[in-house]
């Protein structure tokens, strides 16, 4: 252990360190091209001249860095010098491989960083520090911190990530390297992931279908646990969070270490628990919005010389209450809710979770192995087995309340085999993916016709992408072919139908990064991505009680299933995204523009009203139209002095159904956030940071026309998209927080106290599907404590 800390740090000019937060670090190892660790190699940060020598095991650490971007120069006798540029914070240990001098070439593998994604993609990261301030929040809510990323909400606890206006089966979540396979088709279905497993979360805002397949058409969310380290002592982290609004407690713990007799092995166990009751708005209780969640994960890793492997298991379990008043029987109920200022059902605070509610379980087993093969590259093989169970309980008569109204089990297997290669200025990856899924409804248990049918899906893809670096350029190109076989088991008047689909589709990607000057960089990426419609888009049938509307798939005609599927087309996205980055000591700027033209974009359009024994309902059907989504994200950080930092974030998105010259539903309104933070350092407490953030959300001016539920008639539904209520007005929130660190021996104790919605503003959020029924939550205090005894 000591060895890791025995680092020869030579700070040549420490007074050059500007601003805050100066808590970033770079940790890595220097290896020869034969995989030997190189001790006493010189590692220098070019712009500050900060220099360290590597320890006996080739490791080095730079601590307390302030910059967002650094250039590192590595030199070692007999080897070529190399210079690499890193965007901070970087939480993963980096491996830098030096080439022998006679091989002339100066290149590098920054493991996990550059290879993981296209170098020419626009992405943003939530670092460990960012995540520490978000502990206890669901994944989808945490991601809202990133400009261009929003959440489609169902009440205060269910958040579904939206990247540049796309969500659900268009967004892929990569959970510790494995494609998360859950029930992402539903708007009220949040990703089944515990954010506590992550030491960093990255969002790729461009299409990554080449690497990951059709689900990544709208972007990728990469949830990364920290790398496993074989340390002698046990390290770990404990977190406690207390949230005032719903009287929630959140607890999480993680421990990790090495295994003595096998010094190349390491382990980690991690768990979290949270329990909260009803949330409340400034004026009333949101009855039945409690949550209970417990999660567990364990990992075992092995790493030696040129090969390594990992076994990882995780279990996610949650029960979430849905606002009682949001369950509607018919459009008269809905009209009453919309017109009324308050929900019709308000009771006192309770921790009890009653119907309607969701019970969700997700289990994952991952096995991964890699081998560094000389003259060929790195071969990675991984398998992920997942089981996702979703039960939704509705308001039903009598004993039926204890039966779920929806009970789905999704069993999936993913296999990825990739070969990453690297030679001089040229690097790339070639790989195959296979996915086998089986989705089953337990209709004997529910006694209700399933919302989406049972299905088996086999998908396989093959991809290649290559990257070339020269001078100030990084160029990238990739392509992918996929095949999907889908077998659906559905019913028409109690007769089983087994339609089959075969989809063949291609994706391609071109990207370029131009490092104009050391501080300016331009990234441009153009992607062509294809996605076959999901089962839910083909065969959904049924009534949504939250929105009092009937939803039907592409394969239904006036409610009857058709056999001809020649009209079903693949969705094709053509997206171009350009980013301008500027990074200097006191200023960093990130400005992107994107244009996404989508052919055969699948979404629900209204088409008729239907008389049932509860009155008239609007019927929506999935239709395929040409759409365009274009917009811009900006983030800026300016450090005035060591003590004051100003931040600005903003996003704007314009979306249109081009065929019908119409607006699209659920498009996030423009947002702008100003923030300022003060850093007060003293001897006793470290990094005392006081910050105030002022997020302003504009009114969605391109919202669908308003048709109140009781004004529905066959004419109003046949025209343009509509919404049952107008888009809420814009609102400004005030959030404030104080955080500081106290050193406890070698370790750190971090405190943070934050208040969201300081002034108890009453507002409604356009992106919350329960805005028909209730306001958003009021003032909310969170106290977070984190004790960190990491050994690396």
């Amino acid at each position: 252990m000591k060895r890791l800390f025995l680092i020869f740090i030579l700070i040549l000019s420490s007074d050059l360190l500007p601003g805050q937060p100066c808590n970033k670090r770079i940790e890595g190892e220097i290896l020869s091209d034969e995989g030997k660790f190189l001790p006493q190699a010189t590692v220098k940060i070019v712009n500050t001249e900060q220099t360290v020598l590597t320890a006996d095991d080739g490791s080095f650490i730079f601590d307390h860095l302030c910059q967002d971007r650094v250039q590192i120069l590595v030199s070692y006798v007999g080897f070529s010098n190399i210079t690499i540029t890193l965007d901070l914070p970087i939480k993963r240990k980096i491996n830098i491989i030096l080439q022998r001098a006679q091989k002339v070439l100066d290149d590098v593998i920054v493991e996990g960083e550059q290879l993981r994604r296209g170098a020419s993609q626009t992405s943003a990261i939530l670092s460990r520090e960012d995540l520490a301030g978000l502990h206890g929040k669901p994944l989808g809510e945490s991601l809202k911190e990133i400009p261009g990323v929003n959440a489609l909400q169902t009440g205060p606890a269910i958040f579904k990530p939206v990247i540049h206006g796309l969500h659900s089966q268009r967004i892929m979540v990569l959970n510790n390297g494995i494609r998360q396979e859950g029930q992402q088709w539903g708007v009220e279905h949040a990703p089944e992931i515990d954010p506590f497993i992550a030491s960093e979360i990255e969002v790729v805002k461009g299409s990554e279908t080449v690497r990951y397949g059709s689900d990544a058409i709208g972007g990728v969310i990469i949830v990364n646990p920290p790398a496993l380290h074989p340390t002698e002592k046990i390290g770990g982290e404990f977190n406690v969070g207390l949230v005032s609004n719903n009287r929630m407690g959140v607890f999480s713990g993680m421990m990790e270490g090495g295994i003595k007799p096998w010094r190349h092995c390491s382990w980690r166990v991690q768990g979290s628990f949270k329990k909260g009751g009803d949330y409340h708005t400034p004026d009333y209780n949101l009855s039945n919005t409690g949550i209970e969640e417990y999660n567990f994960s364990a990992a075992l890793g092995f790493e030696h010389d040129h090969h390594g492997g990992e076994i990882y298991i995780s279990s996610f379990n949650t029960a979430i209450g849905i606002l009682r008043a949001a369950h509607t029987g018919n459009n008269e109920d809905l009209q009453r809710s919309i017109v009324s200022e308050r929900p019709w059902y308000i009771k006192d605070f309770t921790y009890d979770i009653n119907n309607p509610r969701q019970n969700i379980r997700h289990y994952l087993v991952k096995v991964k192995a890699y081998e560094q093969i000389r003259n060929l590259g790195r071969l990675n093989i991984q398998y992920g087995g997942q089981f996702n169970q979703r039960e939704e309980f509705d308001i039903r008569r009598g004993d039926n309340n204890t039966r779920p109204a929806l009970s789905l089990g999704l069993f999936s297997n993913v296999v990825d085999v990739t070969l990453d290669h690297e030679k001089g200025h040229h690097s790339g990856s070639i790989g195959i993916n296979g996915t086998l899924k089986s989705n089953k409804n337990d209709t004997q248990e529910t006694g209700i016709v399933a919302l989406i049918p049972d299905y088996n899906q086999l998908a396989s893809g093959i991809f290649v992408f290559e990257k070339l670096k020269f001078n100030k350029w990084v160029l990238e190109a990739g392509g992918r072919y996929d095949y999907q076989h889908l077998l659906v088991k559905t019913f028409q008047n109690r007769t089983l139908l087994k339609p089959e689909f075969n989809f063949h589709y291609f994706s391609g990607n071109l990207g370029a990064t131009y490092n104009w000057t050391p501080s300016w960089r331009i990234i441009v990426n153009a992607g062509y991505s294809t996605r076959p419609p999901h089962v839910s888009e083909l065969y959904s049938e049924g009534l949504h009680h939250g929105t009092a509307s009937i939803e039907e798939g592409l394969m239904l005609k006036e409610g009857v299933k058709i056999t001809d599927h020649s009209h079903v087309k693949e969705e094709i996205s053509k997206k171009i995204i350009g980013t301008l980055q500027h990074t200097k000591e006191n200023l960093s700027l990130d400005f992107s523009l994107y244009y996404n033209d989508i052919d055969n974009y699948v979404y629900l359009r209204p088409y008729e009203t239907r008389l049932t024994n509860r009155g008239n309902f609007p019927a929506f059907q999935y239709r395929q139209n040409n759409a365009v989504l274009t917009g811009s994200d900006v983030s800026l950080k300016y450090t005035f002095s060591e003590k004051i930092t100003y931040k600005l974030k903003g996003s704007y998105l314009y979306a249109k159904d081009r065929d019908n010259d119409d607006v699209l539903p659920f498009i996030p309104p423009a947002q702008i956030e100003n923030g300022v933070s003060f850093n007060v350092n003293s001897n006793r407490i470290k990094d005392l940071i006081i910050s105030v953030n002022l997020p302003y959300t504009f009114k969605q001016i391109r919202a669908p026309k308003v048709v109140y539920p009781l004004d529905l008639d066959s004419e109003t539904v046949q025209g343009k998209n509509f919404d049952f209520a107008p888009a809420p007005a814009g609102y400004l929130l005030v959030n404030a927080s104080v955080s500081f660190k106290i050193p406890v021996k070698e370790n750190t104790l971090t405190f943070s106290l934050s208040t969201e919605n300081v002034f108890n503003e009453v507002y409604r959020n356009y992106m919350n599907r329960l805005r028909y029924y209730s306001d958003e939550i009021g003032r909310n205090f969170s106290l977070r404590l984190s004790y960190n005894f990491l050994q690396h």
Partner: protein
């Protein structure tokens, strides 16, 4: 030594493919049992209104008239079949409401369920302007509050209009006006809401 070990552990690509294939086959074969169609026991397909004329002493007299509202597929595309209600003017009827699920065989009588859980249910009767038809509750749940399965219906002079029957689940029965049949403050969710054309002559 390491390379030897690697050789032993590392299967050939052919073997890997074979394993994947075997696994896939196993998986597909075990999940290949076909699902059974669902018996939707809770569905309400049919609302039956029985109007039994009463004499001055409140006893049944003459033949009862039966009217129904039938929708075989609830939310599906089949159009409901609705009876036209015809009643005599200035007459008192005993009005009973029956709810049936005729999508299963034998049909299930849902009104029995509603009666058992009377405290969680209440019917409301609405009429369009000008229709001379008044309904008052004639039954009680355990708490002594109306359910509306049995009622008294009184007609006035000849008129026509719409008669709406609404069943609310988990209504706020103690809210103002609710126990006398005013739906305004009832809350809850609508389980049934059907309208009949009525002629009183």
């Amino acid at each position: 030594m390491n390379s030897q070990k690697t050789q032993l552990i590392m299967p050939t690509p052919k073997q890997i493919l074979a394993y994947i294939f075997l696994f896939a086959t196993l998986l597909l074969s075990c999940s290949d049992d076909d699902p059974e169609p669902v018996n939707e026991e809770e569905l309400i397909t049919t609302v039956v209104l029985v109007f039994q004329p009463l004499n001055a002493t409140g006893n049944p007299e003459g033949n009862a008239s039966v009217f129904s509202w039938i929708d075989r597929d609830e939310d599906g595309p089949i159009v409901p079949v609705i009876s036209d209600i015809t009643l005599s003017s200035n007459t008192t009827y005993k009005l009973t409401v029956q709810l049936l699920n005729e999508s299963v065989n034998p049909a299930v009588n849902i009104s029995e369920e509603v009666l058992e859980e009377g405290t969680e249910h209440q019917f409301f009767f609405g009429r369009s302007n000008g229709l001379n038809l008044n309904v008052t509750y004639a039954d009680n749940d355990k708490d002594g509050l109306p359910v509306g399965l049995t009622n008294n219906a009184t007609t006035g002079n000849a008129s026509t209009g719409e008669f709406t029957v609404t069943l609310r689940h988990e209504p706020q029965k103690n809210a103002s006006g609710v126990k006398s049949g005013d739906i305004t403050n009832a809350g809850g969710e609508t389980d049934v809401q059907v309208s009949f054309p009525v002629t009183i002559n």
